[in-house]
Amino acid sequence: MPNSPLTPGIVPGRLHASVYDANFDDHTQPLDRHEARVAADRCYFCYDAPCITACPTGIDIPLFIRQIATGTPDAAAKTILSANILGGMCARVCPTETLCEEACVREAAEGLPVEIGRLQRFATDGLQGRGVHPFTRAAQTGKSVAVVGAGPAGLACAHRLAMHGHDVVILDARPKPGGLNEFGIATYKSTNDFAQAEVEWLLQIGGIRIAQNSALGRDVTLADLQAAHDAVFLGMGLAGVNALRAPGEDKHGVRDAVDFIADLRQASDKSVLPVGRDVVVIGGGMTAVDAAVQSKLLGAENVTIVYRRGQGKMGASPYEQDHATSAGVRIVTNAAPIAVLGNGAVTEVEFAYTEEGPQGLTMGAQKFRLKADQVFKAIGQTLSGAPEGLAVEGGKIATSGAGRTSIPGIWAGGDCAIGGDDLTVTAVAQGRDAAEDIHASLMGV
C-alpha cells in the first residue's frame, strides 16, 4: 500500500488491496428464499394498490409479491418483466423509498414498507440467472425501426418493438450497450456486470441488432435513419454536462462526476483508480451522492457534498443522503461555489452561503473555503447534439402523447425527452409506451 487516505493529491491505492472488493460489493444484499417468503407475507394485497400507482412502469406489485409468497417466483418475474423489461436493474437502482415503498401502506402504518425492491430482485434474479427469457417474438411484420441509444429507454423500446415482430437496429455511441445502467450508476448498486448480462438476456427476444460506437450526428444523421427505417426512436440521453460557471473551473483536478462514475464502473480493479485526499462534490442529486460515496470508498480522507439550496430540495432522497453521511460524507447545503482556487491544480474552493427568497437564489455575504485537491461537478446533464428541426422544450426534446416528437415518424423517450424524472424506471416506461405507439402507428391499429 504505497498510499494512504492521508497522501496529498489525486492518487490510487489509498486503501489495502483487500478492502476494495468489500467496499464495492452489493450495497443491498439479495434476499434468500425464506427471507423472501417472510418479506412477501407482509404485503397486504391492497385494493387498487398505491404502490402500483407509484411505479412509473405500473408493475402489478401485489400480484408479483403474492406469486413469490405462494412459491412461484418465476411467475412473479414474468409479472414484473411484462411491465418493465429492465425490472432486474430497476430492482437495484430504483429509489424505491420515493416510489413504490414510499406509497406502501405499511410505510404509513409502521414506517417499514414491504421490501418491494428486494422482492423484485429476488424474482427477476431467479429467472434471469438461469438465462430464461419468458417472452416470444410475434411473427415478423417486415417493418424496421431505428432506436438511438442502448440505454434504458432505447432497450425497453427495442424489446417491445421486437416482441411485436418489428426489426430493430439500435445505434449506440458508446463501446458497450446499457447507457447509464452500464456507465452511470454507483458500482455497489449493480455488481457482477449485471448491466451487460441484462442486455444479453433482453436480446434473446430476437430481431434486435446493436451498432456500437455509432453516434447520431457524428456517424449517422437523422435523415439517414428516416430513409432506412419506418420509424425512429430517440433515446440518447443527456450527453452534455452543466458547467459551474465559477472562475477556475478549468483547473487540474476539476472533473465531471459522470466521468468519474463511468471510470469506476468500467474498472475491474478499483485500487488503480486515483482519488483526491480532500474531495468536494458540487451538486445535490444522486450523481453527487454516487460520486461522493465512491470517493470515500476509494479512500479519500475528506469528502464534502455542497449543494446550493436547502436539504429538502436535494434531488437525492433522504435515504440516499443517509447513505452518504453513513459512508462518512459531509453534506453542506445552501452554499454555491464562487471560485475554484489553486495554482494550476485546485487546492481550495470558495463558496458563498445562499439565500432563497422571492427573487430566487441569491448569494449572501458570508463566504467559506473548503480544501480540495479534487472537485466533482454533479450539477446536472444537458441535451447535446439533438437533431436539427426537432422542437426542444426546457432543454429536452418536446413530446406529446406516447413520446411523439414534433416530427412525424420520430419518437423520443428517456432522459433526452421531457416528462421523465431522469430515472431508469421512467425511461423504461417511456421507451415501452413509445414502442406501443410506434407499433400502433406502423400497423394501423
Partner: protein, 433 residues
C-alpha cells in the same frame, strides 16, 4: 399475584395447566423437567396392556401447517400410544409422583374393549400413587383400527360401558377423553356421564392430512411414498375445541360435569377462554412441542395478571362465559350495529373495500384520497371488514341505540326480539302483529 391453585375433581395442582397425554409425557425424564419448569400436572402418555408394546413408524410421525415465517399453526401426528414396556412406565410414574407429590399425575389408558383388560390394567397402576386415570377414547389412528381409541369414542354405548367398568374396578377419579371425530360431541359426553365419569377431557386430535407433496403425490407426513390420516392439533383446532367444550358445558344432560379443556392451548389467554367456557383446567401439548416447557411461565404470569386485573378468583372464571353461549334462534335480531372506519387509524390498504365490494354488500365507498367510508344504507354489520382490516381497532362495529334509525331498513331500532317470534318464521311461537 392471583392464586392459581387448582382443584379438578379432587385432584389438586399448583396451577390449572397440565400437559396432555402425548409425547411430552412419555417418560420420566420429560415429566421431571416439565414439573421443574412449573407445569401443574401431567397426563402420562397412554399405557396399553401388558405384553409386547406397540411399534411406531420409523419415518416421520408429524406433519405441519406453517405461516410464512414458519410459525407452526397446526400439527398432526401418526404416533401411537407408548411404545415402552408397561412396567418401565409404571416404575417411572411412581418415582416421579413420589418426588413431586403436589403435582397432578394422571395416567392415560387404552386397552382392548373387554372388562378383564380394563380390570387388569387398573389393578396394575394402583401401586403408582397416581391421582387419576384418563380413558383414551380419542386417538384417531393406529389404535382405532384395533378397536380402541376413537373406535370406542365413536360408539356412545361403549363409552358408557367402559367407563362403568373403570368406576367399578377402581376408586380413582376417572376422566374420559373424547374424540372430536363425531357428529355431535354432546352424545359421547352424556354417555361418559351416564357411565359415571368424574370428568371429560376434550378434544383429542382431529382426523387430518396436513398437506400433499405435489412432486411425489404423497400425503404428509409421508412414509415410503404413502401417508395416512393423523391427528390434527395446535392453534388451528382451538375454535373447534372451544365450541365442543361450550356445547357440553351448556347441555342440560351434562351440565356441571367437569371438563378438562384441550385443543391448541398456546397462551394464558387461550387457557382463560377454555375456562370461561366451562373447562375446569386445560391440557397443553402442541405448544410445548413447539416452544418447550418454559411457556408455562408466561401462562402462569398471564393468567395471574388477568385475574388480578379483573379481581376474580380462578373459580370465578370457570364457566363465566357459558351462559352467554346460546342458540342462533335466541340471538337478538334487533341488535343493530354499523361498521365505522377510523380515518386516522386507516392506512389505506383498501382490503375492507375489496372484501365488501367483491364478496359482500357493497357498503363501503372510496372517497378521494383513498378515504374509505361505510354506507349505512347498505351495511348489514357482517363484520367482514373488521376481520380483514390489518389495523386493530381501525374498523369497529358501533351499536345503534334503541330508537335510532337503521338507514338500511328504514326502521327505528326496537327492543329485543328473536327468530322464535319473527313474522318470517313459519313456526313462530307468537303471532306477528
Amino acid at each position: 399475584m392471583a392464586d392459581l391453585t387448582s382443584n379438578f375433581i379432587g385432584i389438586k395442582s399448583p396451577n390449572p395447566f397440565w400437559l396432555a397425554s402425548a409425547p411430552p409425557t412419555d417418560k420420566e425424564y420429560n415429566v421431571r423437567r416439565a414439573f421443574q419448569a412449573g407445569w401443574g400436572g401431567v397426563v402420562w402418555k397412554t399405557l396399553g396392556s401388558e405384553g409386547p408394546p406397540v411399534v411406531n413408524v420409523n419415518g416421520p410421525r408429524y406433519g405441519a401447517i406453517w405461516g410464512a415465517d414458519r410459525r407452526l399453526l397446526g400439527l398432526n401426528n401418526i404416533e401411537l400410544i407408548t411404545d415402552r414396556p408397561l412396567e418401565v412406565n409404571l416404575r417411572e410414574i411412581k418415582s416421579v409422583k413420589r418426588d413431586w407429590p403436589d403435582r397432578a399425575m394422571i395416567i392415560s389408558l387404552m386397552v382392548p374393549c373387554d372388562e378383564d383388560s380394563w380390570r387388569d390394567i387398573l389393578h396394575r397402576i394402583e401401586d403408582t400413587q397416581a391421582d387419576g386415570v384418563e380413558l383414551n377414547f380419542g386417538c384417531p389412528h393406529g389404535m382405532a383400527e384395533r378397536g380402541m381409541g376413537s373406535a370406542v369414542g365413536q360408539v356412545p354405548e361403549y363409552i358408557e360401558m367402559v367407563t362403568r367398568w373403570v368406576k367399578k374396578h377402581s376408586r380413582m377419579p376417572c376422566i374420559v377423553k373424547l374424540t372430536p371425530n363425531i357428529a355431535d360431541i354432546r352424545i359421547p359426553a352424556a354417555a361418559a356421564h351416564r357411565g359415571g365419569a368424574d370428568a371429560v377431557s376434550l378434544i383429542n386430535t382431529i382426523n387430518s392430512i396436513t398437506s400433499v407433496n405435489l412432486d411425489s403425490f404423497s400425503p404428509e407426513p409421508m412414509i415410503d411414498g404413502k401417508g395416512t390420516h393423523g391427528g390434527y392439533c395446535g392453534p388451528a383446532v382451538r375454535p373447534i375445541a372451544l365450541n365442543m367444550v361450550a356445547e357440553i358445558a351448556r347441555n342440560p344432560e351434562t351440565r356441571g360435569l367437569p371438563i378438562s379443556g384441550i385443543g391448541g392451548v398456546t397462551t394464558w389467554r387461550d387457557a382463560a377462554e377454555f375456562m370461561a367456557l366451562g373447562a375446569g383446567n386445560v391440557q397443553v401439548c402442541t405448544a410445548v412441542m413447539t416452544y418447550g416447557f418454559k411457556i408455562v411461565s408466561e401462562m402462569i404470569s398471564g393468567l395471574s395478571e388477568y385475574l388480578d386485573t379483573k379481581e376474580m378468583a380462578l373459580s370465578d372464571l370457570i364457566g363465566r362465559a357459558t351462559p352467554n353461549v346460546t342458540d342462533w334462534q335466541f340471538l337478538n335480531l334487533n341488535y343493530v350495529t354499523k361498521a365505522r372506519i377510523d380515518p386516522d387509524a386507516c392506512i389505506g390498504c383498501g382490503r375492507c373495500f375489496a372484501a365488501c365490494e367483491d364478496t359482500s354488500h357493497q357498503a363501503i365507498v372510496i372517497k378521494p384520497g383513498r378515504v374509505f367510508e361505510v354506507i349505512d344504507e347498505e351495511c348489514v354489520a357482517c363484520n367482514l371488514c373488521v376481520n380483514v382490516c390489518p389495523v386493530e381497532d381501525c374498523i369497529t362495529m358501533v351499536e345503534l341505540p334503541q330508537g335510532a334509525m337503521d338507514l338500511r331498513t328504514g326502521k327505528p331500532v326496537t327492543e329485543y326480539a328473536n327468530w322464535t317470534t319473527h313474522p318470517n318464521n313459519p313456526s313462530a311461537k307468537v303471532a306477528a302483529e
